[in-house]
Symmetry: C2
Subunit: 472 residues, 2 copies
């Protein structure tokens, strides 16, 4: 039974809707638990459970002796960044040095707000260990042998879950890979040749920039909106001007902006790329971490010709160190399958079987549900704290999923200098210039809110705010 069918969740949705629509505002008193019981015809424990849930999400707060109050409305939050405006030429900035410095200096950070995955204590370690032991027991040869074809159980599970986003993939349409980066690497190598140009969002995850450059591709960064993703008119223009040979987008809760491409946009992106015969690599590595009612769709869901190469992994939701990802390469199956075979021979037999076991046992959805609740609550706490402690005018993205915030400060504030100052306090952020090959985003940085909220995290955000204020 989906969680949303539970009585307490129905009550939560109703109240959450009223808060989001500003019918209930910050500080407003909520109905007492007794009133909730009477109005909804539920037991006291159900009423309590619903308020407890809303409190955990950061939407309401209990005040001793006084009852429950609305703690949040969106009006409290900082404004969102405007649509990005990269130059429409391939960038050439060398980001390797800044990234090397960043990687080296961040190694000692005690509070990692710059990481690319949620913290370990949000992951189901004990249950994954069980799945791994099961894999050792059940796999022929305890997983010592090659897995040339890709784990069949895993393919079935990925195919099954495609129904959640409106897809209907067959297991045979899926190639397991060693994480999503492997999938992106094989797809890029198979679909473009040195000198070609790849169109991407801007800002965009630096790993994608580095990968593209390393195989000799030029990168065209396209204007991107923090809410709706890549700008369709800009994409259209690039296609019509034959400026790009390949396109890569993170359609759901992109890194670093957190944008969620609306269904109509996804449909249009697929149509445009199909029309211009330009393949689309869809990196959907964050899609399972949605805060809304249901799993967002993908571009792949609207793909009728096989032009969309859908990639994902369990690195952001389960176990980065297991290296389990996949690609559904559409009509490029043969090319991408070959590239995988040439460059890697086989995936890790055991870890792929272990993840398949975990998924088969139905543990993933329960885990995801908890993870999403925690992350959504964190996003609100981070937003509120930044709104309170950062310089006036600081803009912050307001993601509907994932675990990244994109912070845009006053033009006068250099995020790399902010990084340098923060790292002296062992606090690490990810400076904006890493997310582009052009000279931009110097006043921006990315925050990872995928860690357990506590006084130290709050203190770190306050510290960042204070340091930023000193720099205005």
């Amino acid at each position: 039974m989906p969680k949303s069918d539970l009585l307490y969740m129905q009550i939560c949705s109703k109240i959450e809707g009223q808060i989001k629509n500003n019918i209930l505002n910050t500080g407003n008193k909520l109905p007492s638990l007794r009133v909730i019981c009477r109005e909804h015809g539920v037991s006291m424990s159900t009423a309590l459970q619903s308020y407890f849930h809303l409190e955990k999400k950061g939407l309401i707060e209990s005040r001793p002796q006084s009852g429950y109050f609305v703690a949040y409305t969106s009006r409290q939050f900082p404004a969102q960044p405007a649509t990005s405006k990269p130059l429409l030429t391939s960038g050439e900035e060398d980001i390797e040095n800044i990234i090397s410095n960043f990687t080296r200096n961040s190694a000692d950070a005690k509070l990692l707000l710059s990481s690319g995955v949620p913290a370990l204590n949000m992951m189901p370690e004990a249950k994954l260990n069980k799945a791994m032991v099961q894999a050792m027991r059940e796999l022929p040869g305890s997983g010592l042998v090659y897995d040339h074809k890709g784990n069949d159980k895993l393919k079935i599970q990925i195919a099954r879950r495609s129904l959640l986003w409106g897809g209907n993939l067959k297991p045979s349409e899926i190639i397991p890979t060693s994480g999503c980066m492997d999938a992106l690497s094989f797809s890029m190598m198979a679909l473009a040749k040195p000198g070609d140009t790849i169109g991407v969002e801007s800002p965009v995850f630096y790993g994608i920039l580095q990968l593209a450059r390393s195989i000799g591709l030029n990168v065209l960064e396209l204007p991107t909106n923090a809410i709706t993703g890549i700008e369709i008119p800009a994409l259209k223009k690039a296609l019509e001007g034959k400026k790009i040979n390949l396109c890569l987008i993170v359609s759901n809760f992109s890194n670093p902006l957190g944008c969620l491409v609306p269904d109509e946009h996804k449909k249009e992106i697929v149509r445009l790329l199909e029309k211009h015969n330009v393949p689309l690599i869809e990196d959907d590595v964050y899609g399972d971490i949605f805060y809304g009612e249901s799993r967002p769709t993908t571009c792949k869901a609207y793909d009728e010709s096989g032009n969309v190469v859908w990639c994902g992994s369990y690195s952001k939701t389960l176990a980065p160190g297991y290296r389990v990802g996949w690609v559904a390469p559409g009509k490029f199956m043969e090319k991408i399958e070959r590239t995988k075979r040439y460059h890697s021979v086989s995936c890790n037999s055991l870890s792929h079987e272990a993840i398949a076991n975990f998924l088969e046992n139905g543990r993933y959805d329960n885990h995801l549900w908890k993870l999403r609740q925690t992350l959504q609550a964190n996003s609100l706490k981070f937003l509120k704290c930044i709104g309170e402690h950062f310089p006036k005018g600081t803009k912050v993205s307001r993601p509907q999923g994932g675990f990244f915030l994109w912070v845009e400060m006053d033009k006068a504030i250099d995020a790399t200098k902010l990084y340098d100052k923060a790292i002296l306090h062992k606090v690490s952020i990810a400076p904006g210039p890493m997310y582009t090959l052009q000279k931009q985003y110097q006043n921006c940085f990315r925050l990872n809110f995928g860690l357990i909220w506590n006084d130290k995290v709050e203190a770190a955000l306050k510290l960042l705010g204070r340091l930023a204020k000193e720099m205005v």
Copy 2:
């Protein structure tokens, strides 16, 4: 204590030497066990142990009521293939189709003489399982987290073992990779650009050909001797003519020829490549499977300038499915480390720790010793059986390590047709044309003798011989 210091091994070496040098010949009677006891001043059990060991290796046989007799001299064996003579231009043959057919059709084979690794039942499955459970218990986060820097324990073990081949690597000079193919892929991508030419042995493992082609490299196949490997004068000429930008050799027990490059040649290869400023990728994935007294050296051992990129893995000796390999990139550290980071982010945390545990516990050397004994004995049994049952004039390589034989039949016999006929009997071999981008080796095939010798294996070899005879 090395095995060769044991009393029974000293006796074995002596007798083996006499057999190899034709002092003792096939059918000669050996001294009785009592004589061995008296002459060597050893106990009856030691004498028995030494004869038992020689029998296991296929060198002697016991005849009931009569004693022990020499079962083998090298004169019984088929002649060895001549040095290969590839054209000195880049080949363009499309081997993908033949390899696809081969892979598809071999899937159902019951007797896989075509595999690229020793059979599972030669691997220490139970002990690796223990090492894996230990890894889960001891790694922070049970190995769920990224392993960005590469497993430190593993680096130490690989560095330690470099002493065995005359190296003196530091842990910091080693980058763990997901198997050796990953190491070769990153090295090729980092050291060559599309349009460049890579020099390789001929015949050469098809995976290397496919990898090179997939990143746009031309391949220059160089004449190769089945005993001593790549021909130095040919390499020299290619370098002087500026025909190659990169060179890759399998220095120890190459695939498929099984050649062992002599120390003097290794030294000269390193010198020549260094002089012409052409990097050498050394694939040493079979080096631990030597039949001789000690681990053969590597080109890396003679490398003073860092021009040699030494690659290896535990896929051929422990666990192909674990994906544990490495590269020691010499002066190309930064380039190759970056390429790894861009294309794969991280290796599998658990399996790398598990292999490190296995090595730390000192289990590897014991395992290797047994593996080498079995493989050497198998090589002799295979050679003898082929000599007896294949058409006259069939030539076979005589490897001093590894687990591959290269069989060169009469020009009239098409190995691909032999494959087609054998696969109807569920016996799989690896046809020669896969090992070149030129039109050659049609009458050759590769055999994997890394499987437990039994009646079925013998019957399969006899079948192959019979089918080949029918094709003359």
